[in-house]
Each structure stands twice: as C-alpha cells, then as structure tokens.
C-alpha cells in the first residue's frame, strides 16, 4: 500500500513537495463551493460528464505544453494548430477520404509542424516565443487559406462521436490514457529526465553529453502531435473545419500548466498539476453558468481564483524552502 502511494507520488509530482497539491486544493474548494449552492444541477452526473468533455481539448494540449514548459519553452501556436487540424480533417472528409485516414493525415501534419518548430528552436537556437509566435500566424493563415477563408462543412461520418459527454465515447478515455502515458514518459524514462534537465540547466545537460537540440525537437514534435489529437477532438465537437476556431486557446493551456505548478523558466511542472489546472478552469467557467453569474462577474471571479490558487502554493513554498 505504502509503496503504491510512493509510486503514485513519483508518477504525479516531482519529489517531496508535489506542486499539484495547491491546484488540487483550489479545485476541491471551488467545486464544493459551487456544489453547495446549486447541488441539484451542478452535481448531476450529466453535468460532471459535460465538464469532463469540456476539459478534454485544453487538457490534451496541456499534456504537450507541460513538456514544452518543463524545457523552459513556450508554445503560442496551439490554437492555430487546432484550427488547422480541424480544417485538414474537414477538407479530407469532404474530398471523400475515409475518417481514419483523414485523422491520420491530420496527425501527421501536426507532428510535422511540431518537428519543424522544434528544429528552429533546437537546431537554429531561436527563442521558442518568437518561433511559435511566427508559427501561430503562419498556421492560422494556412488554415484560412486551405479553407478558403470559410468554414468547411462536411459529413463527419462518425467522427462526431469521438468526443461526447458520455462514458461510452472514446474521447475522454483517450485523453486520460494519453495523460498517463505522458506522465510515465516524464517520470520513468531517460527522455523524461532529460526534458527536466534541459529546462533546469541546459548547459549542464549539454555538458554530460545530452543532445539538447534533439530533446527539444522531440518535445515540440510530441507536443504538436498531442495538439493534433486535441484538434481531432475539436473537430468531433464542431463537426466542421473552422479556420477561426480556438483563437487564444494557447493562453488557456499555458494557464493550466502554470496553475498546475509549471514554471515558465523551466525545470518544473507535472502532468497531474496541469490536468488539475485545466479542470479548475472548466469548473469555474461551468459553475458560473450554473450560478447564473453575469458574465462580467464571472470574469472577475475567474481572475481572482487563478491568483488565489497560485498564492496558496506560494504560501506553502514559503514555509518549506529557503527564500
């Protein structure tokens, strides 16, 4: 039993003072506060499922973003890439390609995009912020161009069933499985270690012979691949290819990772934390609707909770560490 706990700890957090405790606490508090006021609608199993579904896209992107942020990078192209993925799928479906092949192609595109971004960052040593800012613009433009600046309407041919607020829909399960996989990669593989090392001190990693450029390429490729998966989920909800979809998604995703304990200066972050961060934001958003909050109040409250969640973590830090 105890071994299990230790294992779980090792898997979900880095070291003794798991950074995901603060977002977990925040999540529980916020959840209970909302549930206490509108238990009859908020606690409905259907609503819980809906919230899970609503989290899938951000959470899937956050898996990859966690890797990116742990290496000390950032990825601003997430939203554009999701949009591009939906467009690619829609375009292919419309052209008569089979759903499976369309999905595969979309994933191939996103993986390729990620590898290219990674090459700019890992080999040409350009700053991730700039490269992905450029990519954000290029991919958005590409999506619009490919879609002829319109939404692409097509028969989703079953793909619309991928993600639904339903335990029988594969979407939520896929996301969960990927989360466990990525967490394992980060914790139990040499590659995962090197990801942390690159973010913690790149010079040190290089000194012991790690090809840090390659690590980065792999990270961005993997991350974009995961964004591609999120794009498939997004298509499944939209059932159209929408080149203007998901503008600003990256901010939500980065926020999830940072609320979950990730640090933009690298070396810190965990999958569990990022998932909790993503969930926290869905719960706030959804809860606000259930409470019938006016939308401006909702925004004010969201902002305050985000800061509080992290201040909580900071307060704990203070007590345990040096300065």
């Amino acid at each position: 039993m105890k071994a299990l706990v230790t294992r779980a700890r090792a898997l979900f957090g880095a070291g003794k003072r798991p950074a995901w405790v603060a977002p977990l606490l925040a999540l529980v508090v916020v959840f209970c506060a909302i549930a206490a006021r509108v238990p009859d609608t908020f606690l409905l199993p259907q609503n819980l499922l809906v919230m899970a579904r609503q989290t899938v896209v951000v959470a899937t992107c956050a898996l990859g973003m966690t890797l990116v942020i742990v290496t000390g990078g950032i990825d601003l192209s997430t939203g554009s890439l999701v949009a591009l993925t939906t467009v690619v799928i829609a375009k292919l479906l419309k052209g008569g390609t089979s759903p499976a092949l369309a999905v595969l192609c979309a994933l191939a595109v996103s993986g390729l995009v990620g590898a290219t971004i990674g090459a700019f960052i890992g080999r040409l040593r350009l700053k991730p912020f700039v490269v992905t800012l450029g990519a954000m613009s290029v991919l958005r433009g590409a999506a619009k161009g490919l879609a002829d600046e319109q939404k692409i309407d097509c028969d989703p041919r079953g793909l619309e069933k991928t993600l639904a607020a339903d335990l029988s829909a594969p979407g939520i399960w896929i996301a969960l499985t990927l989360a466990v996989l990525v967490a394992c990669v980060l914790t139990y593989t040499r590659f995962g270690r090197h990801v942390y090392a690159v973010g913690s001190n790149e010079a040190a990693a290089r000194l012991v012979g790690i090809d840090t450029g390659r690590v980065k390429i792999a990270v961005y490729a993997l991350s974009s691949l995961l964004v591609g998966v999120a794009g498939v989920m997004e298509f499944s909800t939209l059932t159209v290819g929408d080149p203007t979809d998901s503008v600003g998604l990256e901010l939500d995703v980065i926020a999830a990772v940072v609320i979950g304990g990730g640090s933009l200066s690298g070396g810190e972050g965990s999958i569990a934390g990022s998932l909790l961060g993503a969930l926290l934001m869905t719960v706030i958003r959804s809860g606000a609707v259930h409470l019938g909050m006016q939308s401006w109040v909702q925004e004010v409250v969201t902002g305050i909770i985000i800061v509080l969640a992290v201040a909580l973590d900071r307060a704990r830090h203070r007590r345990t560490a040096r300065g």
């Binding site: 509108v38 609503n47 939404k151 309407d153 909800t237 939209l238 929408d242 203007t244 609707v289």
Partner: protein
C-alpha cells in the same frame, strides 16, 4: 485580392479615366453570412463594371483592426468604401476622414451614427428579433420557459436582435425568460460549451415546454451542437438566426424549428450598386431595408426562401 483585376498601377486609382475601385469591408470573413455578402458585391461589381477589393479585419471582431483597414484604404485613395461597421460610434471618425478625403462611404449590415455616409443598407434587426420572439412563443404555445444565449458584449446588430426578442417575448406573459445574461462568445466552440452548461443549469431536460433563442450564426450553430449532444434536439424548441448549410439541414431534420434569415446576398449587391450609382452621380436612397424573414421546415422549399438560404454563390465567387 482575386476580385480586383490587376489594375494598372501607373495611372493610379484616382484619375477619373481609371476604373472605379471600391473597397468592401466586412466585419469578419468567416461567417457564411459574409460569403453571401461578398457574392452579392461581386454580382453588383460585374453589372456596374467596377473593381472591388474585399478586405476584412484580420482578427474577427477586432474593432481597431477594422479602423486601421478603413484608414489604410483612405490613405490608399480608393474611390468608395462599403463598410459593415463593427461599432456604430467607433467608425464614425474614420468615415469622417474618408468623407474629408472625398471618398464616399456606404454602410451595410450594421448602423453607423451620424450622417457622413451616403446610404445604409441593412436589415431592421430589432424587428427581426421580434419575429423570432413571436415564432418561439407560438412554438411553446405561449407557455413555458425560454433562454437566450447572447452573442458578444457590445455587438450592436446582435444586441438589437436580443433586445427585439426580449421585447417581443413580453407579449407572451406566460413564457418566462430564465436566463438572458450569458454570452456565447466569438466562436462556435465557446458558444457550444456555454450552451451545454446553460441547458444543464436551467434544467432544460426536465421542463416540458422549453425554448431557446440565439442571435447569430455562430451561437445558433453552437447551441444546435449543444442540443444534439445532450439529446435535447427536437425536445427543446429552438429559433436561431442566419442560415448556413448545416443550419438548413438541421431545420429539415427538425433540430431547429425556425431561423430568422436576412438577405445578405442582396445586402452586398445593393450596397455596391448604391455606391457605384452614387459615384456616377445618380441619386441614391438614404436607407435601404433588405428585409428579414422567418424560415421554417414548412416554407423551406419556397423559391423566394431558397434564393436566400441557398444562393448559388459559386457563380460569383469561383472563377
């Protein structure tokens, strides 16, 4: 742009002998709605033998970008501007500047304050909202509950529709509006997520007589997806706004009960035509109502309706 024939740069756009060049500036480019406006504009351009440049703000609903696009065209010196202002006050200044530079402006789709523009070609949005209210009340047999999923804070055309709807629904006192303070936001995805939560929060699944109104294409489509994914389609009465391929087929399926549609093709057509007329010195009307009508499964096959909901755009937009 593919619409403007490569004009001879040497003689510029300004010399009177050159072809007339008209900038057409939509609010955005990706709603199906604007595609129709575009097609109408192209038709008018061909008939009147002028060039048009179609250019929207880069970011959807980006007010400042639109202001910049207008001022860039003014600086460039086009002959006329057809504009769908994102804001009825904020675009006053650039339009005034255009007027000062002797570039006339025709306003389309959404109103603009002041009288610096030549003509206003659009739907009466409040009246259109009322049409939706009347229909939803009828569908609910004048009794039950309703929710409105608004579009975005500060968007004048949709706010007028929402207002028209809320005013109109008052004439059915037994229809209670449960929620009218939630906004769907700019994209389908955000509208979908909001819609999903809204339906659950207002217990749409338990009520027997429940209606929904949405004021534009993206909120309508998002709400449609939300209804379908929660298996509430056909159970909840749903009146939306604007038409697209997906929405029309949903109307056929009975997932949507009614759509209030404008006549965007006509809007684009009349706007450019009016501008061309004005530039050639013909008198034009100050206000041109392009009309709105309710489309239901029943009247879907009327030729008049077909022309509006499924215009043959390809003829105009593809070479």
């Amino acid at each position: 742009s593919k619409d403007s024939k490569p004009s001879d740069a040497a003689d510029g756009g300004k010399s009177p002998s050159a072809r007339l060049k008209i900038a057409v500036i939509p609010k955005g480019t990706t709603h199906e709605f604007w595609k129709s406006v575009h097609a109408g504009a192209v038709k008018a351009a061909r008939e009147a033998d002028v060039d048009i440049v179609w250019k929207g703000p880069l970011k959807e609903d980006d007010l400042k970008a639109q202001v910049d696009v207008v001022s860039s065209f003014v600086a460039q010196g086009v002959n006329g501007i057809v504009l769908a202002p994102l804001n009825d006050a904020a675009l006053r200044a650039p339009v005034k500047a255009a007027k000062a530079a002797k570039i006339p402006v025709v306003v389309v789709d959404s109103d603009l304050q002041g009288d610096d523009h030549v003509s206003f070609v659009a739907t009466d949005n409040q009246a259109a909202g009322k049409i939706a209210a009347t229909e939803l009340a009828r569908l609910l047999a004048e009794k039950g509950s309703a929710v409105v999923l608004r579009y975005q804070e500060g968007s004048a055309s949709t706010q007028n529709r929402e207002k028209g709807f809320l005013d109109g629904i008052k004439s059915a006192p037994d229809v209670k509006v449960l929620s009218d303070n939630q906004y769907g936001g700019a994209t389908t995805e955000t509208a979908f997520a909001k819609g999903e939560s809204l339906l659950l929060a207002q217990k749409a699944q338990t009520g027997s007589s429940f209606g929904v109104f949405t004021p534009n294409e993206s909120t309508t489509f998002g709400m449609l997806l939300a209804l379908r994914k929660s298996n509430l389609n056909k159970k909840v009465k749903f009146v939306g706004f604007d038409a697209s391929e997906k929405l029309v087929s949903a109307l056929k399926d009975g997932d949507v009960d009614g759509l209030v549609v404008q006549n965007p093709f006509n809007m684009g057509y009349l706007a450019v035509k009016t501008m061309a007329d004005h530039l050639r010195g013909k008198p034009v009307e100050k206000r041109i109502d392009t009309g709105a009508r309710l489309v239901t499964k029943a009247n879907l096959d009327d030729p008049g309706v077909r022309e509006v909901v499924a215009p043959d755009l390809g003829k105009w937009l593809e070479e």
